[in-house]
Each structure stands twice: as structure tokens, then as C-alpha cells.
Amino acid sequence: MTYVLKPKLHHPMLAKNKLGFTRRDYEGKVSTLCAGCGHDSISAALIQAFFQLDIQPHRVAKLSGIGCSSKTPDYFLGNSHGFNTVHGRMPSVLTGANLANRDLIYLGVSGDGDSASIGLGQFAHVMRRGVNMTYILENNGVYGLTKGQFSATADKGSKAKKGMVNADAAVDTVSLALLMGATFVARSFSGDKQQLTPLVEAAIWHQGAAFIDVISPCVAFNNHPGSTKSYDYVREHNEAVNRLDFWPSRDAITVDYSEGGVIEVPQHDGSIIKLRKLDAEYDPSDKINAITHIAQAAAKGEVLTGLLYLAPDAEDLHQHLNTFEAPFNRLGEKELCPGSALLDKINAGLR
């Protein structure tokens, strides 16, 4: 429901990047997500990353599936083409788009419902194929747009707003991406701009399938006291705003912690997520090491963040397919049609 247009007035003192663009040139429409939504922080990190990398906004194609996260490409890079595709099927559309024009930068934005449930198959196969893209999964463990059902990344034992307890094992998208052959795998937290922005920049630079799982708390459907681990102050805060007759407006959760450190982050639902940032000495080029680290952290109830894996010798789909240098969408009959003389030869071979 993007009825509000942002004024296009620029402050003359706004900082410009090497291309002469200001940060505003990387923004999109006004977000229609709930105030305090982690997804808006991710959009902000994306804007910052593209601005800092001096990328022309129109050279980016943004593709998404269906869901809260998939709406966000409308809220950044307003001069880029965007495509809000089909639920869970963004990876295939992005693959086709990438094949049609290898010269653009492809950004895939998805959610946990989109990627870990209905689209788990496409998620796995797009990683296998090594499509050159940055795939951002905005992970909140819940279906927001249809009002609070569990997603497949919800932890076993967690409680939904309507009281149901999740009995199913959670899909760990990071481990899955690694196993499927993604060549850049990272995890971060929407509130940790210090960590997220450089990760996004590195993913954009990566020539291959780059995946970032970004934990992003939902303010609307995890705002119930569903956990025994709740902090009193969060609960008090809850009660204070629940009297209002619209979605509670929250401050986005932000964190700041050092490499190798652990931080306990209270969520809007009162539960706590334990993030462990990778050591500075961690070697991301070792895939088996990465898988082990993720599993060990999970066993301790921690969620590992940072650049988990970076393949030293990444290849992308175009290399696998040995495709022509010029984008396919620029080729016409001169380059593509074999002509009548060859057709006559083919006819002769069919008699």
C-alpha cells in the first residue's frame, strides 16, 4: 500500500559516492512494514552497501518471492527494476533473468516461509547451480502476512501467538546452502549494521551464489509472552503498548558486539537469541570446518554469525554453461539465426 511518495528534495550537503550519487538515490518507496521491523534495517544495510560500493542503482535487478520480506525491494533502489514473483519461486525467476543478461547485479530477497517451506526446493537448486547473485533471507521464523503461523525455521518448542507449540525440527538455511554448494555463506542479525553492511558488500562482489541468512525479529506476531526466558522489562513494555488499538510501534532491536563474542539479544516475544560472532582468526575457506562450527554452536544453543564460508575458487552458472560474453537479450537474428543455407543442408539430411 505505497500511497505515500517520498519527497525527492536532496540536502545540498548530502555526501556523494564516486559516481556522484547520494544515499537518497539508493532509496525506494516508503516502507509499509510495521514500525520497528527488522526487515527495514536490512533494507537500510542494502542501501548503504550499494551506495558505498559505487554501483549504479539501475544496474541492479531486485527479485523477490511473496511475503513481508519480499515486499521490501520496493523500499530500496527505486531506480532499479524489481520483480515480486511467485511464493517460493524467486530463485528460478532470478536464474532466468541472470541467463538473459549476465551484466546486471542480481539481488534476491526472500523470507523464511518463502525459502524454507514452499520454496525449499528452488532454494537448494539455485545454490547448486551457482547462480551469480546475492540471496538475502530475512528470517523471522513466522508468517507475517498471513498473521502468525510458524515457518520452517521456527525453533522446535517455540510458541506461536495463537498458543500452538512448534513440534517440528527447524530448517537451518545456512547449513543447507553450504551443503548445496553455495560459494559464499554468511549469517547476520538485522540489528547489527556493523556486521551486516560489510557482509552484503562482500556478497555483492562475490562472483557466484552468495547467501546471507539475516535473523530479523517480527514485531507483530512474536509480541506475545511465549517464552519462559522473557525479560521483565520487555514484558512491561509489551503491556504498555498493547493498550493501543494498532500494531505496537517498536524500536528496532540493535546490537553491537565484538568478534569472537557472544551476546544475548532479547526478542520482541520475550525470548532470547544468543548470537556468537566468529573469531577474527576463523578461516572461512574451509567448508568442512564451517559445517562443524555451525553444528557445534547450535549444540550450545548459539547462533553463529559472520562470514561462515567463502569458496576460494568460486564459479558461476555462466562459466558452467560456457555462455557467450554478450548478454542474450542484446542478441538478434544476426547472431542467433543459422539462416536458410544451413536449413537446406538440414533438409537434405532428412530425406
Binding site: T2, H81, A97, D103, F324, E333
Partner: protein, 615 residues
């Protein structure tokens, strides 16, 4: 009492009953091609159940100097090489027909019919005496029977030697034993089976410059010529060989000679949802893309096709139809996806369909569909079927005009945007319902838009306003209507004499229809025939229905799908339409059509006796 013998020159049906995986396919094809080289048209058909190895498979060859390429029905000569299907195969032979079999092991008399002429030949014995390797013994047995048949039928041996030479060009090691096996069979039959077969051939001049090709290969080649660069597919019978043919042709015709790089990208996707998703992504980004599938794949693609229709993305979907519903009959033919494809997806949708009759049209329509998809910015369905797709069919040679330019449709460039041309992604500027689009990455500050399956205003801005939605839906309808002007027109075959009756048919029914029309005319039943080649229907189709007392609609499905579409979409009065439906999975035959139509016509001509009012 002497047994009746079918005696026929250049006009008969031979059926081979083989075991799948026994190497019979290439021997049988060799047999079929030998007639073509003698100037006699043939129409072969693969009849195979959905199995890979060890199970029955049949190959039927209709030899027809008159050039009737539909399936005739009935078998004059059965080459029974599969003990599993023996009884069924023997039963199928016409009275007075022939049974050719391997008599190395004797069979009891109960295995034969007394109204069928039996020709026994010790194929296994002959093969085993010359070849030692088990695989070779099996393979050459097939060539030996081809040799025997050519002696029995008077196929010129030079023709077969020439074909074997072409097949094993550069593979001398295989050439010699093949020629040898052929000669063994030829000599044996020439000496010991002389005069036992009444089916003969004689050189004719009825083939001309026609080519012999499978529809799937022709459609694939049409996509190469039409400029498809992206193909995404998922294996499904009977369409898999289409994507495989596209791969083969691209490797030959689309590798850049300087760089060795491919001007094509083929993805065997994880499922049909991904196939159509890839096609949509490529089409959105300005590349020509297609997928090939069959009924179950179409069902899976339904959601994406709705998006492509509503978001106006070019996409080509080739549906090689088979028997449905569900898994149905994967290896049998039908025209039963017509309604589904016409209205595929949720909400109000209508799509463009093309109905090719043979490989020649598969090629033409394959290339055309890529132009149509970009001009109309919508999915286009090429509705072929197993009968056309997986059988070699004699057809006109393929043609391409080198002056032809691809129709890329309405694409707004950076220059046009800088020139101040107004861009509204869903704005009807020319009155044909077709808006302009921009490719992603076109311009720094103009022409970008957000593509979505949800409702929007003409400038691609999200809108749930009723007026915006209605404008868009009506424009899509206008565009659909405009499509008629671009589609292949229906083709009329007028009857020899003025006709009260008309007949509408489409796709693979074509050769049987023409043969049936001839047979009906010989009986004094004259029918004007109109071959529908596309949907939405042009006015000519409505006019044709209006100008006949009754119109037969001949289809290969149970529910009269094209007839429904004629009533729904062309406004034809259903009372004037009579369905002739064939849907057992085998290709429709001229005998069936002629019998059905003549029965209906004679019923219509019978005047009920006027009864006394008092009675």
C-alpha cells in the same frame, strides 16, 4: 480350399512387435526409410508402453503411394518378434494377411490362425551361425529380418545398402557386419520364401522433396531459428526429446566460432515450476525463452502462467500432449489439454494457442510463437501431441526467409526515454492493448518499474483501486482480441461439390481428416473442412459455422474441448455443432472419422415417418 491372400502394391500396413531394448528401432527405421528412397510415402508410428527395457514395443509402418499419412488401422503383415505379445499380435492381423515369425523353435498349431498366411524363418539360427557375441546375435537378427522383408516385398537392395552406408559412415567396423546380415536375410528369403508375400512395392515418384522428421525435433529447430536463447525443461514423456533436440541443434548451430562460447543456455530444472520460472525470468529480462512439457507439467506451471499473463511477460510453452488426466497414458496421444491451456491459472485468464498439424508447422509455429510472445507480451502455447512429436512424419521441407527480422515487440529504449516518450508499463498507448516495456538496466533514472502479480495502475504502481484493476483487465482482453490479427488463419479445404455440412479439425487429426474427406466424397457425402490453427478464433471460423447446416468438430479428447471453446469464445450456436470424438490414446484414423460422419449424416437424412394425429 486355398487361403485368401491380401495382394497389394505400394499400399499396406506392416507392424513390428519387438522387445524394448533389443535394438529393433534402428532396423525398423531403416525399413521405413527404404520406401521413401523408392519414392513411396510412408507413415511410421511408435507404439510403446511406459517402460524402458524388456517390455513390449511396436512399430507400425503404413506404406501409402497415395500419401495418406494418418494411421490406417488394421495390420496386413505382422512381424512377430515378441513371444510375450504373440496372441495379441496374431489377433490383430487382417484376414488374408501375413504373419512373419522366427521359426527356430517350433510352435504348436494352436498358436496360429487359419485365415492368416504364415511365413516362418529361422532368424535366431541364421544369426547364431554367423555371430558369436550375444548382443550382436540379437542386433543382427533385426537386420536379417529387414533383409528378408526386402526380398519378399521387392524393396531394391541397393536402397537399403545405401541407407546402411549413410548410417555407418566412418564406422567401417559396423558397416560390414550390417551389410552382411542384411544380405543373409535377403538371400535366404529370396531362395526359400519366394512368392509367399502378396505385399509388394515398386518405385514411384510420390515423395518429391519432402523431408522425414519428428515434430519434436522440428519444433526445437524452430526455436533455434526463432532466436530462443534460454530453454528450461524437466523430463516428461512425450516432450523430453524436444529439449534434447534443441540441445543437439544448438551445439551444432549456436556455438560462436571465434570464442567457442554458447549462444544458448539450457537448464534441466528441478521441476516444471522451476522451468517456467526460469522462462519467465529470462522473458522479463528480454531474452527469448521457452519450455517444453506435457499435461502434468502444464498443471504445475499454472500459477506462473497466471503471473506471466497478468505481469505481461513473454513466454513460450510447448505442450506435447498425451493422454490425461493425472499421469493418464504417458506414451499415448491426445488433444486433451486444449481447454486447460486456453484458460490456465486462477482468475480471469485467456491464452494464445497454436495448433500445428505436422513437423513443418511445428518448425514454423515454433519460431512464430517466440515473435508472438514478445509482440503480445504474454504466454503462448504451442499445442502439439505425441503423434506429431515422437513419430517421423513426411512433410514439406523447412523454409526460412533470410530477410526475416525478429519481432521484439514494444520495448522502450534509453533513447526513447531521453527523447521524452511517456512510459507507463501498463498504459495502452496505441489502442491495441499492448503497453511498452523496458528491459532492466535500461536507463539511470527513467523507465524502471516494479513487476508484480498484484493489481497496479497503468504506471505499475501498486493499486487496489477498482477502476485501475478493471482498466487493466479490460486492456488485457483487448490485447487478447488483437492477437487474432497476428495468428495463422484457419485453412479451408472445400468439398468437390457444394456441401451442406462443414467440419472443423486441428493438429494431428489433419492427415486422417483429409483421407476421410476423400472417402466420404467417394460415397457422395460432401463436407467442407476448416482447419483451425490458433486461438483466439478469427471471424472466419464463426462465419464458417454460420454458413453450414451442421458442422462436425473432430477432436482427440472425450469432452469436446475445442467445441466448448467455439461456443464460449466464438459465440457459435452449439446446436449446429456435432462432435466426432476419438480418445482411446491411439491416433485417430480416417476409417473412424469417415464411419462416424457417414453414420451421423445418414441419421440426419432419415425423415421420421409422419404419424397420424389421431394415433
Amino acid at each position: 480350399m486355398s487361403m485368401k491372400r491380401i495382394e497389394s502394391l505400394n499400399d499396406f500396413v506392416v507392424k513390428f512387435a519387438n522387445v524394448n531394448g533389443s535394438g529393433s528401432a534402428s532396423a525398423n527405421e531403416l525399413f521405413a526409410k527404404s520406401f521413401l528412397r523408392m519414392g513411396i510415402p510412408v507413415s511410421p508410428r511408435n507404439i510403446f508402453p511406459s517402460n524402458i527395457q524388456g517390455l513390449p514395443t511396436w512399430y507400425e509402418v503404413r506404406v501409402t503411394e497415395k500419401g495418406w499419412l494418418g494411421r490406417r488401422g488394421g495390420v496386413d503383415l505382422m512381424v512377430a518378434m515378441n513371444p510375450q505379445t504373440w496372441s495379441q499380435d496374431v489377433k490383430e492381423i487382417e484376414p488374408g494377411g501375413y504373419l512373419f515369425y522366427d521359426n527356430t523353435k517350433p510352435l504348436p498349431p494352436s498358436k496360429f490362425r487359419d485365415d492368416v498366411n504364415v511365413i516362418g524363418m529361422p532368424l535366431t539360427e541364421i544369426s547364431n551361425a554367423t555371430f558369436t557375441d550375444a548382443r550382436e546375435r540379437q542386433l543382427f537378427k533385426n537386420i536379417i529380418y529387414v533383409g528378408a522383408l526386402s526380398a519378399l516385398m521387392d524393396i531394391e537392395p541397393g536402397v537399403i545398402a545405401e541407407l546402411i552406408g549413410e548410417q555407418y559412415k566412418g564406422k567401417e567396423k559396423l558397416l560390414k557386419p550390417n551389410l552382411n546380415a542384411f544380405q543373409m536375410g535377403f538371400n535366404y528369403a529370396g531362395e526359400k520364401l519366394k512368392g509367399m508375400l502378396g505385399l509388394k512395392v515398386k518405385r514411384a515418384y510420390a515423395v518429391g522433396d519432402r523431408i522425414f522428421m519428428e515434430g519434436n525435433a522440428a519444433a526445437a529447430l524452430g526455436c533455434v531459428y526463432g532466436g530462443a536463447t534460454v530453454c528450461a525443461w524437466y523430463p516428461i514423456t512425450p516432450s523430453s526429446s524436444l529439449a534434447e533436440a534443441f540441445t543437439r541443434y544448438c551445439q551444432k548451430l549456436r556455438v560462436d566460432p571465434d570464442s567457442g562460447k554458447n549462444k544458448f543456455a539450457i537448464i534441466q530444472a528441478e521441476d516444471e515450476l522451476a522451468s517456467i520460472g526460469i522462462v519467465c525470468g529470462a522473458g522479463w529480462n528480454g531474452a527469448r525463452a521457452f519450455t517444453a512439457t506435457s499435461g502434468p507439467g502444464i498443471s504445475l506451471m499454472s500459477e506462473f502462467v497466471g503471473l506471466a499473463y497478468f505481469a505481461e511477460i513473454p513466454a513460450v510453452i510447448i505442450d506435447v500432449q498425451r493422454g490425461g488426466p493425472s499421469t493418464g497414458m504417458p506414451t499415448r496421444t491426445q488433444q486433451s489439454d486444449v481447454l486447460k491451456c486456453a484458460y490456465l491459472s486462477h482468475g480471469d485468464t485467456k491464452h494464445v494457442l497454436l495448433f500445428p498439424e505436422d513437423p513443418h508447422e511445428c518448425f514454423n509455429f515454433g519460431a512464430l510463437s517466440l515473435d508472438l510472445a514478445e509482440r503480445l507480451q504474454t504466454p503462448v502455447f504451442l499445442m502439439t501431441d505425441l503423434d506429431i512429436g515422437m513419430n517421423q512424419r513426411l512433410c514439406k521441407p523447412l523454409q526460412w526467409d533470410d530477410a526475416r527480422v525478429y519481432d521484439r515487440g514494444k520495448v522502450m529504449t534509453a533513447e526513447m526515454l531521453d527523447g521524452g516518450k511517456e512510459f507507463g508499463r501498463y498504459l495502452d498507448v496505441d489502442g491495441d492493448g499492448i503497453p511498452y516495456r523496458t528491459y532492466p538496466g535500461t536507463h539511470e533514472s527513467k523507465g524502471a518499474y516494479f513487476t508484480r502479480g498484484t493489481s497496479k495502475n497503468p504506471y505499475a504502481v501498486y493499486s487496489e483501486a477498482g477502476a485501475d484493476y478493471a482498466y487493466n483487465m479490460e486492456r488485457l482482453l483487448k490485447k487478447h482480441d488483437f492477437a487474432k490479427t497476428l495468428l495463422p488463419k484457419p485453412l479451408l479445404t472445400p468439398a468437390r461439390e457444394p456441401a451442406r455440412f462443414g467440419c472443423i479439425y486441428y493438429g494431428s487429426t489433419s492427415p486422417s481428416m483429409h483421407e476421410a474427406l476423400e472417402a466420404l466424397a467417394d460415397k457422395g457425402i460432401f463436407v467442407n473442412a476448416l482447419r483451425v490453427r490458433a486461438f483466439p478464433f478469427q471471424d472466419e471460423i464463426y462465419d464458417f459455422c454460420q454458413s453450414h447446416a451442421k458442422v462436425f468438430v473432430v477432436e482427440q479428447n472425450r469432452d469436446a474441448q475445442l467445441k466448448t471453446l467455439l461456443v464460449n469464445e466464438a459465440g457459435v450456436n452449439p446446436a449446429c455443432l456435432i462432435s466426432v470424438l476419438h480418445y482411446d490414446g491411439t491416433p485417430i484414423t480416417a476409417r473412424f472419422i469417415a464411419r462416424e460422419i457417414s453414420e451421423i449424416v445418414s441419421a440426419l437424412n432419415v425423415r421420421p415417418i409422419k404419424k397420424d394425429k389421431a394415433a
